[in-house]
Symmetry: C2
Subunit: 344 residues, 2 copies
DNA sequence: TTGTACGCGTTATCAC
DNA sequence: GTGATAACGCGTACAA
C-alpha cells in the first residue's frame, strides 16, 4: 500500500474537531441543513475550513455506486468540430458537478474498445461517443449496466440509443441544390471511406439523390482514406481530368477533408474558384479568410454538445422514454468559393 | 442510496465462480502471475470472461489512495494550441492506464478555483495546468498533498513547480529580428493583457529588448482584451494611424490574437502584406492558406503535452529532484505575409 | 436532532 | 500458493 506521507483529512477528522459524529458531518456535506442544529452546522463549517477538508469522491462513489463521471470518446480531439462539442458538454457537466474524461480513438476500433473497458472500470455514469461503429456489443453491455449513452454525430440504429447531430440529408441537399442552381455541371463529392459511418453515408446518399433528382447523368463520388496523402491526391486528379474548369465544383463531406482538399488545390497551383469551386461541411475559424471565402455548411456544434449532455442527465434522472434522434438544422454559409458560373 | 437494478459483478463473484478466494483474484488482477498456480490463473481468467467482470476503479483507488486520474485545466479547449497539448498528454496517459479529466476555465480564476477543488476531491494523482496565476495558494496546497503538478505554457516562479513550454524570449527575438531585417520600420506588438501571464510578459519584454537593441525609438506595444471586439479594433486603428503602409508590420503574441487581427484587417479592407505585414505566434492548420501565407512561430505543442505528462509520471515515480523549467525551441516559419520591404 | 454500526469493492497483512 | 480478515472514506438504516 502506498505510503501516505501526509495523512489525509477525512470526515472523521472533521467530526472530531467539530465535536460531532461522522453522520452529522455527512449530512452537512449532502446539504441536509434542515436536519442540523445551527450550532452543529457552524462548527462543522468551521472545522472544514480549518482542516481544509475535501470529501473523497472515490469513497462517495463507491458507496453510492455513482462516479459523477462522464466519458467522452471521440475520434480526434484535435478536430475543431469535436472540441466545440466537448466545450458544450463540459459546460453542462460543470454545472452539475460532473467531470468529463476524454478519450481519443483515432477512429481505431481497438483503441475505442480499450477505452470503453477503462470507462467501464471507472463506472462512468454517462457516455458521449462518436463511435467507430465496431464495438456495438460493448456499448450494448454498457447500456445494460445503466450507463446513459448518447451517440454524437454518428448513428448506430441497431443499438437504439439517443443520438444527437445535424440533419445530414437536409443540409447536404440544400448545399448541393445551391451549387446546381449556381450553374455547376460537374459536382464531385469527396468523403472519407463510407463504410460503417452513418454520417458519411447519409451525406453521400443525399448527394446522389439530389443529383438524380436534377437529372445529372452520374454522381461523382470520391472516397479517400486520409491516413496518407496520396489517395486523396489521386482522387482529386481523377476528378480534375474528367471535368472542365469553369463549370466544376467540389463538395467536401466534412471539415477535415475540406481542409485537405484546399491544401491539395493550392499544392497543385489551382485557384479557387477560377479553376475549381469548392464548398463543404463544417464552418471553421478560417473559412471566411481563405481566398474569396469558403462556402460551408455550419453545424451548431456547441449546441450539439449541450444537448447531448442534457439528454444524458435526463436519462440519469430516470427518463425511460424511447430513444430520440435529435437532428439540428445545418446552416449554409455562402461565400466566394462558389460563385455563379460565367454565362448564367 | 441508489438502487442497483443490475447487480454489479464484483471480485467476490469472480472468486466464487473460479472457486478461489478474493485474494487470489486480486493477485491475478494486479498481474502477480508468478505467485499463482496455472490452474488458478486459468479458472480466474475464464470466470472473468464469463462474468464480464471489470474491476471497480473507485474501490481500488480508495484502497490504494491513488485515483489514476490526471486533471488538465486549460483556459480554452477550443484553442488548437491547447488541444494539441491535450493530444500529447492523452497519448502518454493512455499508455499508462491513466485518464484525463478536462476542465475549461475561460481564464476565469473563480472557475479555475472550483475546478481545483473538484479535482482535489477526486484525489487526482497529477495536474497539468495552464493557470490564471490567481490561485497559487490552492495549487501549493495540492502540491503539498503530493499531487504532481506541471505548469504548461505559463510559469509561476514562486510556486517552484515543473514547467514546460516554449522559449519565449528566443523565439520572439528571432521573429522580430527577422522582421527588422526585412526592412520594417514600424513594428507593433499585439497581445492580450499582460498582467499575471508570464508567457505574454516574456514575449513582450523580448520584443522591447530587441527593438532597443536595434535602436528603434519606441516600442509599439498594444494590449487588448479579446472578450469584446472593439478594444482590439481601437488599438489596431491607433497603430494604423500612427504608421505608414509599406514599412509597417504587426506581430501577434499568440494564435488567438493573430486570428482576430487577420479578421480585423480583412474587415477594414486592408491587404496582407501590401497594407500591413503580419506575423505571430502559433502555427495553425490554416496559416499557410491565407493570402500569401502567414509567417508564424510554430510551437511543438504535441511534444509539450507529451513532455509535461512524462514529468508528471517521473514525479509520481518518486523523483524529488529540483523543479525543472523545460523550454522548447520555437520554429519560425517564413511565408508571404512578411516580404522584404520595397526598396531594400 | 444526533450517533452507532455496517457495508460499498478492493488491496494489504499475516498466517497457513 | 493460498485464504481469512481488516482496513480505505464515506453514506445510511436504525436506534436513541
Amino acid at each position: 500500500m502506498r505510503k501516505k506521507l501526509t495523512e489525509r483529512v477525512t470526515i472523521t477528522d472533521v467530526a472530531h474537531t467539530a465535536g460531532v459524529s461522522k453522520t452529522t458531518v455527512s449530512r452537512y456535506l449532502s446539504g441536509q441543513y434542515h436536519i442540523l442544529s445551527e450550532n452543529a452546522r457552524n462548527r462543522i463549517q468551521e472545522a472544514i475550513r480549518e482542516l481544509n477538508y475535501r470529501p473523497n469522491q472515490m469513497a462517495r462513489g463507491l458507496k453510492q455506486d455513482r462516479s459523477y463521471l462522464i466519458g467522452m470518446v471521440i475520434a480526434d480531439i484535435t478536430n475543431p468540430f469535436s472540441t466545440a462539442i466537448l466545450r458544450g458538454a463540459e459546460d453542462v457537466c460543470k454545472q452539475r458537478g460532473y467531470s468529463i474524461m476524454v478519450c481519443n480513438t483515432d477512429n481505431d476500433p481497438a483503441k475505442e474498445r480499450e477505452y470503453i473497458f477503462m470507462l467501464q472500470s471507472r463506472r462512468i455514469d454517462g457516455l458521449l461517443i462518436n463511435t467507430t461503429g465496431r464495438n456495438n456489443q460493448f456499448l450494448r453491455q454498457l447500456a445494460e449496466e445503466h450507463t446513459a449513452i448518447v451517440l454524437v454525430d454518428r448513428k448506430v440504429p441497431e443499438l437504439g440509443l439517443d443520438t444527437v447531430g445535424v440533419d445530414n440529408e437536409l443540409s447536404t441537399k440544400e448545399a448541393i441544390r445551391f451549387m446546381i442552381n449556381r450553374g455547376y455541371e460537374q459536382i464531385a463529392f469527396f468523403t472519407e471511406p463510407l463504410e460503417g459511418v452513418s454520417t458519411r453515408q447519409e451525406r453521400a446518399n443525399a448527394f446522389k439523390d439530389i443529383l438524380i433528382q436534377y437529372g445529372f447523368p452520374v454522381a461523382d463520388l470520391y472516397e479517400a482514406d486520409l491516413q496518407q496523402a496520396e489517395p486523396l491526391l489521386k482522387q482529386l486528379e481523377r476528378f480534375l481530368e474528367s471535368s472542365r474548369e469553369g463549370k466544376r465544383a467540389i463538395f467536401a463531406a466534412n471539415g477535415v477533408i475540406l481542409l485537405k482538399l484546399i491544401h491539395a488545390l493550392k499544392h497543385k497551383g489551382l485557384r479557387i474558384p477560377d479553376d475549381v469551386a469548392i464548398a463543404g461541411f463544417d464552418e471553421m475559424e478560417w473559412t471566411d479568410l481563405i481566398g474569396p471565402g469558403i462556402t460551408t455548411v455550419s453545424q451548431p456544434t456547441y449546441q450539439i454538445g449541450v444537448t447531448a449532455m442534457e439528454r444524458i442527465f435526463r436519462r440519469l434522472e430516470g427518463d425511460h422514454s424511447p430513444s430520440q434522434n435529435i437532428a439540428f438544422a445545418g446552416k449554409l454559409i455562402i461565400r466566394g468559393s462558389t460563385p455563379s458560373v460565367k454565362g448564367l
